[in-house]
């Protein structure tokens, strides 16, 4: 009984800030009061009318899309190579391949900034995209690997015995079966790229600003509920993405429990 209550309280702790933000976004008046003073969409209107936010939204969506696509392809390929067959140095390679996950993004950001500057490509679209791909691909590799280890290679062998070339067998059979893992990984990559802040901070400029950075700049100096509308929008996007993962791969398998 005590467990249920304390667990409930902790879940409340986890959700309260986001609930507050969503409430503030729809609040007609001063969002510091409770209960809320009426329902209004004016902050959303403001959000959609401001050019810097719309440009940032577009940039974030575009970068996230390409990042998800690239990391899905590269990650699935890498995962295939790692899961199948034993070879020397596989464990080491495994660790290497997932290492960006473990390094704090601020370090990756600083290192990449200095690297890009030396190559004179700092604050470019390519720089941003590559940075995102580097940090999101490990997540794809993780989910695809999880799905692949459940995959029975006999299916592919059966396809080959029926006359399909190995590559064809892969596309016709394997890909269909591991699709949930690939899609879930891609969705997760999209989410991470879309919300990415720390890494992006070092890779952007006044001309190239994704949504979280735009929001951060806004928040440093003002408390305008427009920021709440932007945030509520992003929370909506996140929920849609979580539902996407749930639909494709199932949340219990994705998290491993």
């Amino acid at each position: 009984m005590i467990l249920r209550v304390s667990v409930g309280l902790v879940y409340a702790f986890l959700l309260v800030p986001m609930v507050i933000v969503v409430l503030a976004a729809f609040n007609a008046g001063n969002y510091f009061t409770f209960p809320p003073q009426g329902f209004s969409l004016k902050w959303f209107a403001n959000f959609f009318q401001r050019r810097e936010f719309m440009q940032a939204l577009w940039l974030s969506t575009e970068v996230a899309f390409w990042t998800a696509l690239a990391s899905a392809v590269i990650g699935t390929a890498a995962s295939l190579a790692l899961v199948r067959g034993r070879f020397r140095g596989r464990d080491l390679l495994n660790a290497f391949v997932t290492s960006p996950l473990l390094l704090p993004q601020i370090l990756t950001g600083v290192a990449l900034l200095q690297f890009y500057t030396l190559l004179n490509m700092q604050a470019s679209y390519a720089a941003l995209l590559i940075g995102h791909i580097v940090v999101t691909t490990p997540y794809v590799i993780r989910t695809v690997t999880a799905t692949l280890t459940h995959f029975d290679i006999a299916l592919e062998e059966a396809a080959q015995s029926l006359g399909a070339h190995p590559v064809r067998a892969f596309f016709e059979v394997t890909l269909g079966v591991i699709k949930p893992g690939v899609v879930a990984g891609a969705i997760f990559a999209f989410a991470i790229s879309f919300d990415n802040f720390t890494l992006s901070l070092f890779l952007t400029s006044a001309r190239l600003t994704p949504l979280p950075i735009e929001l951060f700049a806004y928040l440093k100096y003002s408390f305008d509920p427009t920021a709440a509308a932007v945030s509520a929008f992003a929370i909506g996007v996140a929920l849609v993405l979580v539902l996407g993962i749930a639909r494709f791969m199932g949340l219990e398998e994705f998290t491993g429990f």
């Binding site: 986890l14 510091f32 691909t137 709440a228 929370i235 979580v242 749930a246």
Partner: protein, 281 residues
Amino acid sequence: MTRGARAVLLGPYVLLLAVFFLAPIALLLAISVSRQSFGQLEWTFTLHHYVRFFSDAYYVDVLGDTLLLGAIVTAVSLLLGYPLAYHLALTRSRWKPLLIVFILSPLLVGIVIRCYGWMILLADRGLINETLGQHGWITKPLPLMYNKFGVTVALVHVFLPFMVLSLTGVLKRIDPQLVEASQTLGASPRRAFFEVTLPLSLPGILAGSLLVFSLAISSFVVPILLGGFKVHVLPMVVYEQVLSVFDWPFGAANAFVLLVISVALIAVYIKVTERALRGIV
């Protein structure tokens, strides 16, 4: 799988990492031991920046504060996260996917937004203070933000899901018959938890703690937004040095101190999780 096929599949990513991850980090190290004059890098070898870091009381304090903050955040996350993980690992309720959504969605929402939520709650004219003031329970606003308290609360909030994810995996793998066996031997459910479940979940506790600690000491968005510029942590110094002061070598040195600590922690974390998977048969 043929070696050729493996090379084609693995090649792109390995190449990508080598060029855009390994190389930059190596570069970071190189810069941290170089000098800079008038914005131009001179490639030399000097430990000047590291010496400067460790001999200046300010920077040492910052390092100490960062580590202490990390420790507190880890302890609180563990305290809050363990019951959650325990419940999640053992529940068979059909609301389980929903609970997982509750834990995952903060991760997908982005750190700035979560900070914003806390800012609304904790500010001097924020929701908590305004509500308490309206009911006449306080006369002055409680200092909940722009200090270590606010930063700690927000950091716990951000990293709690990581702790829960680490713990749940381990807790789920504990054979329920072990608990049942202890009960047939006379252990009450409470005793069974302390004698069986808790000791066997220790690897998860260790892994989760290392992970959260490592993440907490590297966070700088939360200290900036929730600490104003009054809470100084190492990542903030790195940010300032690189993007404001433009003292790249010193900034790189700071970053490298942070990196060494992080890598050391991660190495231990990997060792612990490997052992955990082997120890609980």
